[in-house]
């Protein structure tokens, strides 16, 4: 069986990456909005985002809206590529196993 990317191959992180992959390459989303789309706790989401950031798959940019700090998130180019490779591997696996 082909090696799957272990950073992405965990349901919670897979959902995070899948959500970020729906954005266009130049688009970004705020932390609370991403949290809302995933229905995760802030702590849980932060933990998974840190792992994805450490792997170089997610980039965070911190800015301000008025006096309030805002964190924007997006997939990096390697992150998007890793997600595409991951889904391509799974699709090939499905075809291979005849299901």
């Amino acid at each position: 069986m082909t090696e799957l990317d272990t950073v992405i191959h965990a349901p919670a992180r897979l959902r995070v990456v899948a959500t970020l992959a729906t954005l266009d390459a130049t688009d970004e989303i705020t932390f609370p909005r991403l949290q809302q789309l995933l229905d995760m706790t802030a702590g849980n989401l932060s933990t998974h985002l840190r792992k994805l950031e450490d792997a170089g798959y997610v980039r965070m940019s911190k800015t301000h809206s008025g006096r309030k700090p805002v964190t924007y998130l997006a997939l990096t180019t390697p992150g998007r590529r890793a997600f595409e490779d991951y889904t391509a591997t799974l699709t090939a696996l499905l075809k291979g196993s005849g299901t």
């Binding site: 069986m1 349901p11 954005l23 989303i29 889904t87 196993s97």
Partner: protein, 235 residues
């Protein structure tokens, strides 16, 4: 770091685990897209009802008072359109909140184009009146111009966002403007209600059928997986 339970299993189990992961991706992406994009069905239904009811009121008013609808009819019509505008803006702003980038900018520019067109609109109609246009000409021109703006905005939106169904809707509204003008007053209002408002409602129905069919297919797929003992797992 958690591991998927079927990581190291070859054959069918790996195939099913792969199917599970792909299902997680598909469901989450559907959820993300519907959470981030304005609901076309809701907006189309809203505008369909506003046009259908509003123009029927104008048509009824025009028939009962020698071609010109009463002030009350125009107030009902204006109130319905104003309500639809407010709901559309609030809904769209809420759905796209918390994002930034090229797509958001494109959406903002497109939304701005609607405002620009409808800011100029009353000046054009007013100018025709000052140049001596009759009530009938003003009635025809105001409906035709509204149809052209709305229809062409949908056509540009379709080109901008790659949405074919929006293109169909735009084509329909532009053609409705042509037909509504040719038939003359007060039938213009009836055409606007039935072809224009009705057009929105037909598109709403088509989108709803497509969405329901898609939901059914996904549920059937899930049911088939559950039948072979493959329950989705979460962290």
């Amino acid at each position: 770091m958690s591991h998927h339970p079927h990581d190291d299993q070859p054959g069918d189990a790996a195939g099913l685990a792969a199917a599970d992961s792909l299902r997680i991706v598909r469901e989450q992406q559907d959820r993300a897209r519907s959470g981030l994009e304005p609901d076309g069905r809701l907006l189309c239904l809203l505008w369909g009802v506003a046009w259908l009811v509003g123009y029927l009121v104008l048509w009824a008013g025009a028939r009962s008072s020698e071609g010109i609808p009463s002030g009350g009819a125009f107030i009902v019509f204006g109130g319905l359109l104003a309500a639809a505008v407010v709901v559309t803006i609030v809904h769209s702003v809420r759905r796209t909140a918390g994002t930034r980038g090229a797509s958001r900018r494109a959406g903002n520019l497109w939304g701005g184009a609607w405002c620009i067109a409808f800011v100029a609109y009353p000046f054009i109609i007013g100018g025709l009146g000052r140049a001596g246009a009759s009530d009938e000409v003003i009635g025809l021109a105001s409906n035709a111009l509204a149809c052209m703006i709305v229809g062409i905005m949908y056509l540009t939106g379709a080109a901008c966002f790659g949405d074919v169904s929006l293109y169909v809707l735009g084509t329909w509204i532009v053609l409705t403007g042509g037909i509504a003008t040719v038939v003359g007053m007060p039938t213009t209002y009836l055409v606007m209600a039935l072809l224009g408002g009705g057009g929105f409602l037909v598109i709403t129905g088509v989108w709803q059928v497509v969405a329901l069919r898609r939901g059914r297919q996904q549920r059937a797929l899930r049911g088939a997986r559950a039948a072979v003992g493959q329950d989705p797992r979460d962290d």
